[in-house]
């Protein structure tokens, strides 16, 4: 679910009309999208109101997923995207913008 938010899931409206109200157009993650290997790190921290500081473990992890993907893209290609989902077109546009700026600054530097 977190991966869906980070990569695919977005409700598209034209006025008040929902344009992608079926799973033909609304993309959800599939098993084929999953990495072959997932490594898990537990961070132990007393936080919740449950016994011994326990709290629900599912939904909390959703928060970080889209940000993780955005961080990975930044680290890989150097563009910071602040809007989920990170669709291929959105990443392409960010890269184009970065290239444009890089070229611009070179000209300013007299390069």
């Amino acid at each position: 679910m977190g991966m869906g938010i980070g990569l695919f899931e977005e409700l598209v409206y034209e006025g008040s009309q929902l344009m992608n109200g079926s799973i033909l157009d609304y993309r959800l993650p599939r098993f084929s999208d999953l990495p072959k290997e997932v490594s898990l790190h537990l961070v132990q921290n007393q936080d919740g109101v449950g016994p011994y500081g326990a709290k629900g473990g599912g939904e909390a992890s959703l928060n970080s997923m889209a940000a993780n993907i955005a961080n990975a893209v930044d680290r890989a290609v150097g563009v910071r995207i602040r809007q989920a989902p990170l669709t291929p077109e959105r990443v392409w546009r960010a890269l184009k913008e970065k290239n444009r700026k890089d070229r611009g600054s070179k000209i300013e530097d007299g390069g």
Binding site: M19, L24, D25, R27, T87, P88, E89, W92
Partner: protein
């Protein structure tokens, strides 16, 4: 969502009987094969028919054979049957790869090649590849049979040149010569491709004698450009330098549209990326 409206299914025993039924029902009837597109549209109440003519039970309409120098695929052959056919694997491996990647396994198991072409959904993998391969369809009506190139069958988004009483009985794809190379690649995130690009090249050593590049899914119908095809002819090293110009010509001819799959600008970019990729793949 509304429940599906009532309709009657008819099961003709022959192509002639199916054509007769289609003629009789006119606008109130439609041919029904795999139903993967048609029933979806009917469920959404975008299309309404009182009669469906189910051609799946017509004997031999799903036959795959080699005849007169062509691979001939019956109208009701499913994508899955094409993918698994030894005859197709031997003669046209590019078609196997394409068929194996249409939509999803449920669609491939019931969706048919004829249905895919005749529904003329703009995001069609088969229509794009078959146009590049120079395939011809055979169409039978109440009183006559005719043959047409795929790009003469598909005339627009969800539009074909089929008359009310006509049905597609088979698709004939010329068997590739030894020096022919073909590849099909697509970019797809959702259920349907954002872009499909097919390339067929006739080689003479390191020289490309003839080229056919077809881009699909980015606009209403699969598109070729004479200018792009001309730029793809010549010595391989020369053509490699012209790929950018060829992609530009192809994008101009296709005139991509903005839709849920992406903006026109992005699709133009994809055409240039995928023309390079499909060129490399065809020659590998």
């Amino acid at each position: 969502m509304m429940p599906l409206r009532k309709f009657t299914i008819h099961q003709p025993k022959s192509i002639a009987e199916a054509a007769q039924m289609l003629a009789q029902f006119g606008d109130k009837g439609r041919l029904y094969a795999g139903g993967t597109e048609l029933l979806l549209a009917m469920k959404h109440d975008l299309l309404r028919y009182e009669h469906l003519v189910d051609v799946k039970t017509i004997p031999d309409l799903n036959k795959i054979e080699v005849k007169d120098g062509a691979l001939v695929i019956g109208g009701t052959a499913t994508h899955r049957a094409i993918e698994r056919s030894a005859l197709v694997q031997q003669n046209l491996p590019v078609l196997v790869t394409m068929a194996a990647n249409v939509a999803n396994i449920r669609v491939r198991a019931s969706g048919t090649l004829g249905g895919n072409l005749c529904f003329a959904e703009p995001h069609s993998d088969p229509a794009t590849l078959l146009t590049a391969l120079g395939a011809k369809v055979t169409v039978q009506g109440k009183s006559a049979t005719r043959s047409a190139a795929v790009d003469k069958l598909i005339t627009g988004a969800y539009e074909t040149s089929l008359a009310n009483d006509e049905l597609l009985t088979s698709v004939a794809i010329p068997l590739p010569a030894k020096n022919q190379r073909a590849a099909y690649l697509k970019f797809q995130l959702k259920e349907r491709p954002t872009l499909g690009l097919a390339l067929v090249l006739d080689l003479d050593g390191d020289t490309i004698k003839n080229a056919s590049a077809v881009v699909g899914s980015v606009s209403a119908v699969p598109t070729q450009s004479d200018k792009a095809n001309a730029l793809l002819i010549g010595a391989r090293s020369q053509v490699e330098k012209q790929l950018g110009a060829a992609a530009e010509a192809l994008a101009q001819a296709a005139d991509p549209i903005d839709d849920l799959e992406g903006s026109a600008e992005y699709k133009r970019h994809l055409i240039s990326v995928f023309l390079r990729r499909v060129f490399t793949k065809a020659l590998s």
